[in-house]
């Protein structure tokens, strides 16, 4: 497949020419599209020549008897930023955590369908999760540096997976920290505890730690939700840079953020993928009424 998924899923396409059912307060105050959407720099998502890295099809997931995801169909384009948006509990984090099989740690979680990464089914029993998690890195909601030195945090993954000479490891640590835009701030204190860094620095350290093992895909689970606006802006700049090298999937509650950083957006609601497509398209002209209401802040 050579084009981006721009169509909606089969779920609830609404005809926008028909008057939708609206609540009285909406009638009183007609929905004005927030100004930040018009200001969003989504020009870079406009190419449609991106290859697909990850194809999700007929994907369902359960926690015990509760079905968290229903029949998800989605193509994640290579070296683009894909944002998963939707209200809490809509299943977006669940989907993210299946992509590197973090849900294996949850005893009640199970899934069916296909997560196809370059022809490999990630749900297959033969998948080596250790190798998968090297190829599909993850950044978590709260910065979670290990209580070790800055250097040892970044070197942790490489030490697990590769036999490296000291000098090579030093080089890799530096390169990873540079890529995570943290090198200049920490180069003189690599031996200091990572817990002494600020929250934003810690999160960039976690990004450096994730890219040090050379992943192809980076999963980010609300990476800025515990950070202040300034640190958030730095992480967003960083995501724009990392996009050159990695396929990034970011879960976010912050729609401005999704509009700012992503090329493709997928909107989830109650375990279903409601609409996905170019971010530009989703935020300016969503096909689905629920998407429209969610992004314009009327619920969620």
């Amino acid at each position: 497949m050579t084009h981006l998924p721009a169509s909606t899923s089969s779920q609830g396409k609404t005809d926008r020419s028909q008057p939708a059912l609206v609540t009285p307060e909406v009638l009183i105050a007609p929905p004005a599209r927030p100004t930040w959407i018009a200001a969003a720099p989504h020009a870079r998502g406009s190419d449609d020549k991106a290859e697909t890295t990850l194809r999700i099809s007929s994907f369902c997931s359960w926690y015990g008897a509760f079905q968290a995801l229903h029949e998800i169909e989605l193509a994640v384009p290579k070296r683009r930023v894909t944002a998963f948006i939707g209200p809490s509990g809509c299943g977006k984090s669940t989907l993210l955590r299946w992509i590197n099989r973090m849900n294996d740690l949850v005893p009640s979680a199970r899934a069916q369908g296909t997560l196809d990464l370059h022809g490999e089914d990630l749900l297959s029993r033969s998948i080596d999760v250790v190798d998968l998690r090297r190829r599909v890195g993850m950044v978590f909601q709260k910065p979670n540096p290990f209580p070790k030195s800055i250097y040892d945090n970044v070197a942790f993954g490489p030490r697990l997976h590769f036999r490296m000479r000291r000098g090579d490891l030093d080089g890799l640590v530096e390169q990873s920290l540079r890529q995570a835009a943290l090198w200049d701030e920490v180069k003189d204190r690599l031996k200091d505890s990572a817990l002494g860094l600020s929250g934003g620095q810690q999160q960039r350290l976690c990004i450096a730690r994730a890219i040090a093992v050379g992943p192809e895909v980076l999963l980010m689970d609300e990476p800025c939700s515990a950070l202040d606006p300034k640190s958030t802006a730095r992480i967003e700049e960083l995501i724009a840079d990392l996009r050159e090298r990695y396929t990034i999937i970011i879960v976010t509650h912050n729609m401005q953020q999704a509009a700012r950083v992503s090329d493709v957006t997928a909107f989830f609601f109650e375990g279903r993928l409601i609409e996905d497509g170019l971010t530009e398209h989703i935020f300016t002209n969503p096909t689905n009424k629920q998407t429209d209401e969610y992004i314009s802040g009327r619920f969620g």
């Binding site: 590197n100 973090m102 740690l105 999760v129 250790v130 190798d131 998968l132 998690r133 090297r134 890195g137 993850m138 978590f140 709260k142 979670n144 540096p145 290990f146 209580p147 070790k148 942790f156 993954g157 697990l160 997976h161 817990l195 976690c206 730690r209 994730a210 093992v213």
Partner: protein, 300 residues
């Protein structure tokens, strides 16, 4: 409705009871310290006794009539050998059990293992003493005939088993206090369960584990019944754990149970030994406490 006066009276009485209860333990501790200090001073004032000889002497034979020597080191030697053997048993076994319980054990195994360890902690030490003398020693003698009937090795093993639940339960608390986010961070980098336990969780819980070990050391140093029954009654400098030796606590038992004429120098010498022991365990407890406070700060 109670009157304001009645409420105040109740408050006052409750307060008095609580203050009294907590004051009681402080009073007891103070009384012990006072008695120890007074009697120890009396010992050092006796004829033929000097503090320097006590603290540097390598000969301890208080019951030899005219040839009395009060050098504490043989007793410290016995105590140290028993403690070292005990810790070689308790710390690794306790820590491995704790790691198993906290990281590996399925809920059902935990539900059995935890109570078993609690039972182990509740066994009276006199039972361990008899166990050492009637089970461990014959077993050891079956393996190697050179073991004396009373030997510090057997006593050390029993003290180690006794200390195991202390090391295990406090270490386990420390391991479980390590935030799940750290484990997820490591799993997300492709770490195996073993990597996570050894490279992330155990180092993160290290101060708690050290505190647990120090508490166990303090417990082993102060253990009395087991060593009085199984380790022997000869105060001498030995290296060989197959031989018998006397510990500080065993000496005190010997004196206070009537081997010595009351109120002679040898009687008061037991107080000096007790004071030495008190200082040792007090320092260990203090150190453990310090480390635990540091440990608590790390994740706040």
């Amino acid at each position: 409705m109670r009157s304001k006066l009645a409420r105040r009276a109740v408050e006052g009485v409750v307060r008095a009871i609580l203050v009294g209860a907590s004051g009681f333990s402080i009073l007891t501790t103070t009384a012990i310290i006072v008695v120890l200090t007074l009697e120890t001073t009396r010992f050092f004032r006796s004829d033929g006794v000097s503090f320097t000889a006590f603290i540097t002497g390598f000969e301890w034979n208080p019951l030899l009539g005219a040839e009395k020597h009060f050098g504490i080191w043989p007793l410290i030697c016995g105590t140290l050998i028993v403690t070292i053997i005990a810790m070689l048993v308790a710390i690794p076994l306790g820590l491995f059990t704790a790691i198993y319980l906290s990281e590996y054990a399925p809920r059902r195994v935990r539900a059995v293992l935890k109570p078993v360890l609690e039972v182990l902690a509740g066994v009276p030490t006199v039972v361990y003493g008899f166990f050492a003398l009637t089970v461990i020693t014959p077993l050891l003698r079956g393996i190697y005939a050179g073991f004396e009937i009373y030997n510090v090795f057997s006593a050390g093993l029993a003290v180690g088993i006794m200390c195991l639940p202390i090391v295990c339960s406090i270490s386990e608390d420390a391991l479980r206090a390590v935030p799940t986010s750290l484990r997820e961070g490591a799993y997300g980098l492709g770490a195996t369960k073993f990597d996570v336990s050894v490279s992330v969780v155990t180092p993160a819980a290290l101060s708690g584990i050290i505190a647990a070990s120090l508490l166990a050391v303090a417990r082993a140093v102060g253990e009395t019944m087991i060593v009085a029954l199984a380790a022997g009654n000869l105060a001498r400098m030995i290296w060989n754990p197959t031989e018998q030796a006397q510990t500080m606590t065993a000496y005190m038992v010997q004196i206070f149970l009537g081997d010595a004429s009351n109120f002679g120098v040898e009687y008061y010498s037991a107080y000096a030994v007790a004071a030495t022991l008190f200082v040792m365990t007090f320092l260990l407890t203090l150190l453990g406490h310090r480390i635990r406070i540091k440990f608590r700060e790390e994740y706040e």
